[in-house]
């Protein structure tokens, strides 16, 4: 079987935060490769640095030291504006609380990332329609987030993350705010994106059921990679 190349390469990553005059190390000398097309679950206790790692991979935060290569680009060397441009083209972010813009309709929320592209209005419409069709919400395109259920909002958020066809998708507790049925729908959708569209997905989760949908799993503890406790991953819900 042919070994896939690494989509994300993290080398000797350090990250700390300053809190009330104290420096709190969050990630310590972390090295990790994530293969192209992988659907990886990132687990670990609260405060272990999962979200921080996700932020760094998505270019939302900057490491103290170390390198982050995503699709061959060392994003630690990019300026703030270059990083913004890079994010627009290469990363789709899915949040726990969907983070849709409440004054925009589902259609407009999905259209947002395309505003930054050179696409014409007609092309944008087509892309948005395709992305909403993918999450089966084409009939809700004129609804505002407040008029949609949690699961529907998260599907709109996934549609928004996908609409620019980014190289990687990062999801921070995407099912954390959803009921079981909606969570199942969202996870199935992500699974399909990984299998059918070949997207590289990195998902932070506390939920073993969600993690089981992934194809690989990494466990983070006190800022370093550790072996996963059996109970977390292997026990069915």
């Amino acid at each position: 079987m042919e070994e896939k190349t690494a989509m994300v390469e993290l080398r000797n990553l350090f990250k700390s935060y300053r809190r009330g005059g104290q420096i709190l190390p969050v990630l310590r000398d972390l090295t990790l490769d994530i293969r192209e097309g992988d659907f990886m679950a990132l687990m670990g206790p609260s405060g272990s640095g999962k979200s921080t790692l996700l932020n760094l991979i998505a270019g939302l935060d900057q490491a103290d030291s170390g390198t982050i290569h995503v699709a061959g680009v060392d994003i630690t060397t990019l300026s703030e504006s270059e990083l913004a441009e890079w994010r627009a083209l290469n990363v789709g972010v899915i949040f726990q609380f969907y983070n849709l813009i409440p004054v925009l309709t589902a259609f407009e929320n999905v259209e947002l990332p395309l505003i930054l592209t050179d696409l014409t209005k007609k092309e944008r419409r087509e892309h948005v329609a395709t992305a909403l069709n993918l999450v089966k919400l084409e009939d809700r395109m004129d609804h505002y987030p407040g008029q949609l259920s949690g699961g529907q909002q998260q599907r709109v958020a996934i549609s928004r993350a996908m609409v620019t066809d980014p190289a990687i998708l990062v999801a921070d507790e995407p099912t954390g705010d959803l009921d079981r049925t909606s969570a199942e729908e969202v996870l199935s959708l992500m699974e399909r994106l990984s299998l059918e569209a070949g997207k590289t997905i990195i998902m932070v989760t506390h939920d073993p059921r969600a993690a089981r949908k992934a194809r690989s799993m990494r466990y983070l503890e006190k800022g370093v990679l550790a072996s996963a406790p059996e109970i977390t991953f292997s026990q069915p819900a």
């Binding site: 935060d61 504006s81 913004a84 441009e85 627009a88 947002l112």
Partner: protein, 384 residues
Amino acid sequence: MLLRLLFRNLLRHKLRTGLTLCGICVAVLSFGLLRTVISAWYAGVEASSANRLITRNSISLIFPLPLSYMERIRGVEGVKTVSYGNWFGGIYIEEKNFFANFAVEPRTYLELYSEYLLPEDQKGVFLRDRRACIVGRKLAKRFDWKIDDLITLRGTIFPGNWEFVLRGIYYGRDSRVDESQFFFHWDYLNETLKKKESLMADQVGIYILSVANAGLAAETAARVDRVFKNSYAETLTETEKSFQLGFVALTEAILLVIQLVSFVVIVIIMAVAANSMSMSVRERLGEYAIFKTLGFGGSYLGAMILGESLLVAVLGGTGGVLLTFPAAKIFLDYLGDYFPVFLVTKQTVIFQGLAALAVGMAAAVLPIWRAVRVPIVQALGRVG
């Protein structure tokens, strides 16, 4: 999309937006009214002609000049027409009915002040009848005076009851002309004073000169004053504008206060609008972080915040400008006696517009800085 966002964001907190709009509207309205008061103060200066000079006693305006100066002034090179007059200071029935009233040499005065338009037939009667007077359209309306009405003024500088017959009602060539004045024959005043053997007879308050060339006004003024140098009543000749500015200068402190208040009003509303924008931005920091996450740069966020702030300012400002006109009319109805010319000028409207824009821009500065500077993870609350 940006415009859609601006309008929808504006409607998120209708009460807050409404109150901010009201605040800006009232501030711009107040600013406009105060600027109009200042303009009204300068109405005399604005209405003055570059071709007219005023000659008065060099010691003070309250000291008169002899009538005999008339011919000598007329003989000065550059002088075209000479008229003269006195501030009469008469009171109509009671003191609160104040209006400006002058005894003037009517023929030359009307020639010099061609902006006072008087129907030819009325002018003819006015010039022939020594007890005749003419009044401005606004003044006639104020006291409901009609042609041939008998008007009695009680003299303050020149004691006694003075009777006049209204022979004409003038109107201004344009809206800047004061239509609330009262003019009568200087001869009528002088002859009465002579009869009373008053020392004030044959004395003139000011001479009004027209010059052939406005460019030589200063030179002509100097020539006039040289003629009377070392006489017992030396003269001071200046342009009509300087003469009017002299009156304005007497109330400079009040004007300064009004100007200051007009700017303070704008500064206060700037703070209010900035506070309102800051509240909105603080509430939406998470959303701005989403925009950043999606790849939107600081300039887009800046445009969004500035746009919203300017939209509020422009809407409020437009309301303020539109309300200034009816408000000025109400103001004039109540205080027209003090401000014969009270017009909202184009310049005032421009100042109001600029003030509204300044409010919009200033209110956006700190919120933009904050929204652009805050790290994404901090705004999203995803640290740790």
